[in-house]
């Protein structure tokens, strides 16, 4: 995990510096090793390097899937909300709903919350730690069938994240 933090921070250092030199490389190595030694227990605990390289390739594939689904959903829901904005008389029926998850680790729960906050016309409001329930504010739910369809979409994301991080 410290190794992963080191690699990520070194890549970020090169992107910031904008040039590839021997001096930049030496200075970046020193600084990133100090940072990853000092602050690594605050670092990303979610992705652990305990598995083999083949598994690692599979995980990058899943990461790509998750980000593409994320951006796609952002655009879809943005189109839906902007259509509401230009109506002559804005008409929606908001509701507050509780949803239970089955994810175990803390960080995967957080990433699912990010997934809920941006896409799908919803907004994560609160979270119970003991019961693992989200309180969600939905924008347009007219009947219970639609709610079930949307819940099924969230379940799909949950399976993807569970494959990636658990």
């Amino acid at each position: 995990m410290k190794l992963l933090t080191f690699i990520l921070t070194l890549a970020l250092w090169f992107v910031f510096a904008g040039r590839v030199n021997i001096e930049v490389f030496l200075l970046g190595t020193i600084i990133c090793s100090i940072i990853s030694l000092m602050l690594a227990d605050n670092g990303p605990k979610s992705v652990q390097m305990r598995s083999a390289t083949k598994d690692f390739l599979l995980k990058t594939y899943y990461l790509f899937l998750v980000t593409s689904a994320f951006i796609n959903d952002v655009f879809l829901s943005a189109v839906r909300v902007s259509r509401h904005a230009f109506e002559m008389k804005p008409s929606f029926s908001p509701q507050i709903v509780k949803l239970k998850t089955s994810l175990e680790r803390k960080s995967s729960t957080e990433i699912l919350a990010n997934f809920i906050t941006l896409p799908q016309g919803t907004l994560g409001m609160d979270i119970d730690i003991s019961n693992k329930k989200y309180h969600i504010h939905w924008l347009d739910v007219y009947s219970e069938d639609q709610a079930e369809v949307k819940k099924a979409q969230i379940r799909k994301h949950e399976k993807l994240i569970a494959k990636l991080f658990d």
Partner: protein, 240 residues
Amino acid sequence: MSRMNAMFKKLYKLVLVVSLAIFLFIVFDEIHNLDNNSKRYLSEHYISEGVQETGAINIVTSVLYDYRAFDTLGEATVLLTAAAILSFLVPLGKDKMLGTTFTMIVSQTTKFFIPFLAVLGAYLILFGHLAPGGGFVGGVVMAVIPILLTITYRVEFSEYKFKPAKKKLAEDIGAIGFILLGLVGVVTGSNFLANGQANFGPGNTGELISAGLIPFLNLMIGIKVGAGLAIIFNSLIKEK
């Protein structure tokens, strides 16, 4: 009548802001169109020859740490005094504060966020003579890390991670190192805090190791500002 009065008050504020904007516009236009060359020969000199004399691309940095480095020392002293007096005068007893309690989503995000923030601060400090940034901005970005720890967890965790004695030590190291680097100029036979005149090997302009003493001065100011702001924020928080 009272509604009339309130509306008049609102209008008065608006007119005040607009007239201030017009006044500033006229003043800056006047400064921009100044024909008299004798009034701005100094800035002409800085702009035209600052890069060759100091070796730093960023002109603001070359003014702050070379031509007017003594003023920078004064500003640093102000911060040092403020941090010391605040940590003396603010009472130690802490009370519970009203406010929002954050959920664990925020804390997980800050955990993920902190090492990259540290890299950003280090980049801003060390590349201060090539890119916009420098000691003050980089120090503020470094000070954001204990502030984030304070507002997502609590004061005790932040002071357990970064001990107050160590922060005080870092601030002192910054202040003393700045003065010692200034004394190097005296030893080699020129003024206090001299950099460009004393020829400390300006190097090739645009590379990482260049511009003489300026990167080291940036480093000292960055350490000092970061530690000082963290001390000030943590001693003003009264949350339990």
